[in-house]
Amino acid sequence: MSAFIELDQVSVKFRIYHNPNPSLKDAVVNWFTGNKKLNDYRDFFALHEIALKINPGDRVGLIGLNGAGKSTLLKTISGIYKPHQGKISIKGRITPLMELGAGFDPEQTGRKNIYLNGALLGFSPDEMKVKELEISEFSELNDFLDLPVKYYSSGMYGRLAFSIAAVTDPEILMIDEVFATGDGHFVEKSTQRIQQMVEKSSILVVVSHNIDQIRRLCNRIIFLDHGNVIADGGPEMVIEQYQQKLASIK
């Protein structure tokens, strides 16, 4: 499978509005009074002219300080943010392991949520029926699956969410610091599962502040700072640059 991700001079701008909750009332009042403050905003580039080509076999780790644009880059690749400049081409099914339980409806049972979450990933009810047993076994939730998700402990919640994502066969796997939910036993199990998923996937993009983890999973590291790519290459070289940066702010 020839999955790939290609970004060409991609910029994403965020706007900080003077008034974060605009209302029609304000708009009308300001129109009459000539007050232009409502539309005041400040632009800043969350990603600035990023050019990247990620090929099959690449295990990319994104590192950088808080606010460097790592998560924004993941979200831009998955299509949540449409860039203001540049081109993006992607081939391959993306499985996001970003925010666990992002598509959960707390009022519905765990079982119903399996189907809802699967639907959001593009799986039909029939396909999810096949996966249901596997999810139930992997999450070890069994009878709890017939309980509304709102009664779950946060560990159970995380276990279900991870298990749903874990049974999909990802071509492009995107991970945003979601490891290690649940008890020690489940953490171990899910760490193993992630390793398997990484091996099966064609492309991995992972955001993490955990350098050991990045070293273990990745063969290519991209160091982001203020929306710019500072370094891109083999793990040791880039990690060293990152650590120098960390040392310099201390």
Binding site: N21, S23, S78, G79, I80, I88, I90, A119, G122
Partner: protein
């Protein structure tokens, strides 16, 4: 299942202005890909609406029925009209009106309330106005059942014209979908819109002949009221259900024209602002 490899190929170029045809075809494609999510949202929405009551689903039939009976009793005695006749008139207008208001109010909030999904995973935004429409149209169909039960009870005759009801519903749905698309985007930029909308709809309710017979209006007032686009749709339902005859070609054309205009407006607004929405949520 999405076996086709092409379904997982995406290109985005910020410098290219997308044209309307491209936008429409992309959205149709995405709705097809995300159809299971769409059904699921409609389903959970409907089931959570009635889950907490013992009678459950039955409430969706009984609630509009009782509301309408009370209104029919009040207004038929107010106007001194026979109850059975006036109740059918009232119901045939009130049901589509309820569809109009609930889908407009719900639709205006649809994208804002989906913030939790939109910010965390990729999901086409058009799904959420569609969910609102799907939920409200299903609800309308439920309450239609109670309308027919009532009509049978009062010995109303079912004419062939009822076969045209699906066509009227389709036109109304298209009209509403255009409006909902526009409102769902506008509310992101003007957060107080849904409050204003509710007040506006209350005003429009009295400007539409639903709780009063059209014969009560003076000629001048009628000319004024005809500019209310909802008037044309309510009239369509009145003719089909209450008068039990097929609407004339003028009535059809006006509604079809309104539906087209509204769909065009909604599509243009959605195309222009869809990408901007995520940055304003």
């Amino acid at each position: 299942m999405l076996n086709h490899d092409d379904q997982f190929v995406s290109h985005f170029d910020a410098s290219k202005k997308s044209n309307l045809a491209e936008f429409v075809s992309r959205n149709i494609r995405e709705v097809v890909v995300y159809r299971y999510a769409l059904f699921n949202f409609v389903n959970t929405n409907l089931s959570s609406r009635y889950r907490r009551s013992t009678l459950g689903f039955l409430w969706s039939l009984l609630n509009p029925l009782f509301t309408m009976i009370i209104m029919a009793v009040v207004f038929s005695s107010l106007y001194k009209l026979p109850f059975s006749q006036f109740s059918l008139y009232l119901f045939s207008g009130l049901l589509p009106w309820n569809l109009i208001t609930s889908s407009m109010v719900g639709g205006s909030m649809s994208i804002i309330l989906a913030e939790g999904y939109l910010k965390k995973i990729y999901i086409p935004k058009i799904i959420f106005p569609l969910v609102t429409l799907g939920v409200e149209v299903t609800n309308f169909l439920f309450s239609l059942v109670s309308l027919f039960v009532l009509a049978l009870f009062f010995g109303a005759k079912f004419g062939w014209s009822l076969l045209l009801l699906p066509v009227a519903l389709l036109l109304l749905s298209l009209f509403l979908f255009g409006i909902i698309m526009t409102l769902s985007i506008m509310t992101v930029f003007f957060r107080d819109l849904s409050h204003i909308l509710q007040i506006g709809l209350l005003g429009l309710f009295y400007l539409t002949p639903i709780i009063y017979p059209i014969s009560m209006l003076s000629e001048r007032l009628l000319g004024f009221i005809k500019f209310n686009p909802f008037y044309s749709f309510i009239t369509l339902f009145h003719i089909i259900v209450y008068e039990s005859k097929p609407p004339g070609s003028i009535e059809w054309l006006v509604c079809a024209g309104l539906a087209t205009a509204s769909m065009l407006l909604g599509t243009v607004v959605f195309q222009l602002y869809e990408k901007e929405v995520i940055y304003r949520l």
